[in-house]
């Protein structure tokens, strides 16, 4: 699904991302962990062709993401509020995103019905622009809009931050469910090791842009990670 080759990115002489080789198979749920400055978000941005790598390439379904926009057909993402058009109402935003993927207003409405539980009655028909929502609720809008695109590849940067506990649990169930039923490939970054080991089938640990550890999760994963971070 995703192939990373000799990816390098630096800022002001400091290397931020330096990944020699990384292969991701379809249906995997990848947890990206690492302290601040490890290069998680920069990596995501390069994966989404928002930053030009200094060297190397990222292939999505064998096509370099920087050369063709084909990956946009099956990739959905939510990194931060910069992905939301914050002067729209959530309904307008969903309709707009839906229209990009050929969904009619009625389709979008149908789709949103599934997420009533996820929204917990706080998003739709509130008569507010997205910018007037709390950060957690903005997160919900961004994540729901990403899922609505029925992606094959989903990229979420710290999706659990700012979410209330109920929504955190619901989101985890949702991602697990989608990866088994629809073979959704997911990238998640998080500072919460519990969540990551819980949801992800594979964990990649970054330090100063380099992959230090790359393993499939089992019952010992959490301990292993905690041991690394408490050193």
């Amino acid at each position: 699904m995703i192939e990373v080759k000799n990816l390098i990115k630096g800022y002001g002489g400091r290397t931020v991302v330096d990944i020699e080789r990384l292969n991701i198979k379809a249906g995997e749920t990848i947890g990206l962990v690492g302290n601040n400055g490890a290069g998680k978000t920069t990596f995501f941005r390069m994966l989404l062709d928002l930053i030009r790598p200094d060297g190397g390439e990222i292939l999505s379904k064998d096509i370099n993401v920087a050369n063709s926009a084909q990956w946009k057909d099956y990739t959905a993402s939510y990194l931060d509020e910069g992905f939301l058009i914050d002067y729209l109402t959530p309904e307008e935003y969903f309709t707009f995103i839906g229209s990009l993927h050929g969904l009619s207003v009625a389709h979008v409405g149908d789709y949103l019905k599934q997420y009533e539980e996820f929204f917990n009655g706080e998003i739709l028909n509130r008569g507010k622009y997205i910018r007037d929502f709390s950060k957690g609720n903005q997160n919900k809008v961004g994540i729901a809009a990403a899922l609505m695109q029925k992606p094959e590849l989903l990229i979420l940067d710290e999706p659990f931050a700012n979410l209330d506990p109920t929504t955190q649990i619901r989101l985890k169930a949702l991602i697990k469910n989608l990866s088994t039923t629809q073979r959704l490939t997911t990238f998640i970054s998080s500072h919460d090791l519990n969540h990551v080991t819980d949801v992800c089938s594979r964990i990649i640990l970054l330090e100063k842009g380099k992959i230090i550890k790359d393993f499939y999760t089992d019952e010992n994963s959490l301990k292993e990670l905690e041991a690394y971070f408490s050193e």
């Binding site: 941005r45 062709d49 926009a69 946009k72 990739t75 309709t95 707009f96 229209s99």
Partner: protein, 490 residues
Amino acid sequence: MLSTFLSHQWKSFWRSRNKAGSIAAQVVLGFFMLYFLIVAIGIGLLMETIIGKISPGANPLIIFNGFILYYFLFDLAIRVQMQELPTLSIVPYLHLNISRKTIVNFLNIKSLFSIFNILPWFIFFPFIFVSVMFKQGGLVGVAYLLSILGLIFFNNFFILYLKRKSINNVAIFGAGMLLILGLVGLDYYEIISIREFSNVIFQAVAKYPFLCLVFVALGFAIFTVNSSFLKSNLYTEELSTKDDKKASTDYPFLNSFGRVGELAALELKLILRHKRSRSSLVMGLLFLAYGFLFYKEKQLASDQFGTMLFAAIFMTGISIVTYGQFMFAWQSAHFDGLLSNKINFKDFIKAKFLLFTIGSTVITILSSFYGFMSYKLLLLHLAAYLYNIGFGTVLVLFFATNNYKRLDITQSASFNWQGVGATQWILGFPFFLVPILLYVPFGIMNKPYWGLVAIGLFGLITLLLRNYWIKLIVNRFEKQRYKIAEGFRE
């Protein structure tokens, strides 16, 4: 305590994140203020001579008296639009052990540091010192001074009170302006005379100086009302503008343009839902009056379009220039989202062209009222319009691919230098020079209409080549997008 507050304010200004921008703005503002002050002092000192020139033989004092209330009426109208509410800066202090009285006092004192409160000193005081004090004695002079100070106080706190109480500034501003223009009209046709009224009042003050205390009392009264209102409503939620329920909107007209129309609708919402873009829209409409300055009977009669060309290009292209100069930065807050979503760059650029074309068309139709002045102006506007939608749009979008500065669109546009970079300064030259250069040879040969044809034809040809330009700009956009996105993230 108050001095601590003021020193915090001072620091917040000097340490603000876009310091260069705000300092530049302050310097320019400073120059404006200096200019106004010099003009004001000039008016103040030369008041007697000016009055003598305008209405010879009249008693300067009577004219001066008549002018005072007028001034403060206009002052009120302008303050409604321009005076800022000092509110947000108090948020970090509200939860601390500081009495409400201190905070309210701080807000009140801070509001006094305003150009509107200083200007009258320079306009009125010289005349009062020179003429009133010498001729009518010190007591009368002091009475005048106190009256003026009272009026300044009154206006300052009255507007703050009004603004705090009400939400819709534009409506009040419009109503206030209409009221004042109405009064001026009534004065002109001698139905009701404000001048007369003002004169009667100040003659009374001259006769019984203690009457000036009425103004002082008025000022003090509104100050007290304002303070007590503040004290009992010291919640930032209630002091700032209130939110009404927001509804989703749809523009059926734009939907007929498919994907491109959707993107244009998105941007139209952006324009209407942000302070900065909204105020440039209003400015664009105000600039429709530009023609009255530039279009002169004499030049129209002799077909000298060269001098009027600038105004025509400016008016019909105002939407392209004011909105286009910051182009792509309007969307800087969600630029990453636009890039990573399934949006075709070609549609993205086409949407901008569509929006510009609609904007320019609307404003050109509005500007056609100049046709009453002379049918020739319609020809001039047509040529300018073709130039704007043909070449102007291309130029603006091409420059936009070099603009990497993030724009904060939640702030008002007047005196806002945030997000201004080299692009905005350079853009104006080619935009206004090209049509003038096109016209000049024909102007010299004394073939003005051929000059208009040349500009119009140039516009038309570039318009017909639009698909080519779109391809060119899309290519450039694809190359530049990383740099633009990076700049917008800062």
